[in-house]
Amino acid sequence: MINSRHWIAFRTLLTREIRRFIRIWPQTLLPPAITMTLYFIIFGNLIGSRIGAMGGFSYMEYIAPGIIMMSVINNAYTNVASSLFSAKFQSHIEELIVAPIPNYLILAGYVAGGMARGLCVGFIVTIVSLFFTDLEIQHLWVTISMIILSSMMFALGGFINAIYARSFDEISIIPTFILTPLTYLGGVFYSISLLPEFWQNVSLLNPILYMVNAFRFGMLGVSDIPITTAFSIILVCIVGLTSFALYLLNKGTGIRN
């Protein structure tokens, strides 16, 4: 049961996480703004002008939701993975273990911190995208709920990664070798309808495809997959990851001796 003591503890943890990524803004907020600007210039402007329309929109308009989603996903994941691993590495995770905070609140605090950074970066990238294209939101609630759920899902993923990680290398392996390829193959830069049927079916195994398409539906009103399927899959993933993260926390994996 949540009481005022819990609420203060959660708020403290969230504030600490937000303060952390703001304190190191040249590492956390600036790079995605620069990288995404380059995406817009290179893929949107230079290459996009030769590709022409996609799904009834200019290429720049088509890729903008995917690029925003990509930055949200990456930053939500990275924030939790690096913050929790640093806490383990410097042993200040012990402050939380010793304190009377239930495990679900520790999880909630870190995940909310990751979501905060993801959404903050998403906002910055959206502002950047407005310099290159006009964005009109077609379905506000789909857009908002999808970006929140996606950031939550990847923040949970980052948490589990950090629990298992024993070195800084191990928190960069998943983003580099799994997250980035899945993002690029998740329909950020293309519609899966352009792929042969076999690869379309393979793409359906990629959860990022559902997020990107649902988010694109919210902004542009077009999607390669049904929106209800996208929401269902993401919710199932969130429930699964939350249960697993809590199981690990309760067991003390990676954080208790």
Partner: protein, 307 residues
């Protein structure tokens, strides 16, 4: 009321090492309690289990009658921990560390800030309140850890070698501070390798060795058990060649220094009478080792022989 009750506590690590072997220990409310033992004896594991940093294999831990397994939140709320190693975020500012710690215990920032300010003044960290913790000196970091452990006003404070590596002046000021806190009602459990510290501060003591409690008593009775003491005497002039002390065991260290081993019941008068008869003047005298240190070594050696 017992501030801490540990019953049949066992910890076996994954590599098979039995760090704690069915130990039972009780600490009264208001006590200043020493938990001593050689390196690797199980002190830090015991503290780890009490503070939830280590998962126990078997046994029960109760803090102020609250079972750590049944109501961990309430049990943990009583505790404050000063660990052996620095474990704060070095990039955070000193005051932020304290206010954040209070927040974890459900204390709002408005309530925590005056308390943090008070502790920063008391522990002479006020000037460093806006400094990142990593920029503090070793002694300041130790004081910061004490301030952090006290910010939520714990009823049971556990100090795991709090004065390791700090200079004597700072150590003494920490002793005074801890004595004041104890006098105000906070129960304190202290582990230390400075046995002089334990002897000066603590009223009760447990000695742990190889995962077993080999002694658990009050400091006074333990020290009374010391049947002999070794003194080092500095003499005014070199010892004469034919010098001897009848019935007293001694060893000449250099020309004008002797080490004398005395049985408790013999007292010092006989020694000084003998020296006086031989025309020897003593400049100064000191215990070779701290009394608790001598007992500690005897007990640990005895435990080794038994095992």
């Amino acid at each position: 009321m017992k501030a801490l009750s540990i019953h049949n506590l066992t910890k076996t690590y994954r590599n098979g090492l039995k760090a704690l072997k069915d130990i039972t220990l009780e600490v009264e409310q208001g006590d200043f309690f020493a938990l001593l033992g050689p390196n690797g004896a199980g002190k830090s594991t015991t503290i780890g289990v009490i503070t939830s940093l280590v998962t126990k294999t078997a046994g029960t831990v109760k803090i102020f009658d609250t079972d750590l397994d049944k109501d961990p939140e309430q049990a943990k709320a009583y505790l404050g921990l000063v660990p052996q190693e620095f474990n704060f975020n070095g990039f955070e500012q000193v005051k932020h560390i304290l206010v954040t710690q209070a927040g974890y215990y459900g204390i709002s920032a408005t309530e925590a800030e005056p308390r943090a300010d008070e502790l920063l003044h008391q522990l002479k960290l006020w000037d460093k309140r806006n400094t990142p913790a990593r920029a503090l000196s070793g002694g300041m970091k130790r004081r910061l850890m004490i301030a952090r452990a006290l910010v939520h006003k714990p009823q049971l404070l556990i100090l795991d070698e709090p004065t390791a590596g700090v200079d004597i002046e700072l150590r003494r000021s920490m002793w005074t501070f801890l004595q004041e806190i104890n006098a105000q009602g906070t129960t304190i459990i202290l582990t230390t390798h400075y046995l002089e510290e334990a002897e000066n501060l603590c009223r009760n003591i447990a000695i742990i060795d190889r995962g077993n409690i080999i002694e658990n008593t009050d400091m006074k009775s333990l020290l009374n058990r010391l049947d002999k003491e070794t003194f080092v005497l500095d003499l005014k002039s070199p010892l004469p060649a034919n010098f001897s002390l009848s019935g007293i065991q001694y060893q000449q260290i250099d020309q004008s220094t002797i080490e004398v081993e005395l049985k408790r019941e013999d007292g010092l008068n006989a020694l000084f009478a003998s020296l006086s008869d031989s025309g020897i003047e003593v400049c100064s005298m000191k215990n070779k080792a701290n009394r608790l240190e001598e007992l500690f070594l005897t007990l640990v050696e005895k435990a080794e022989v038994t095992s």
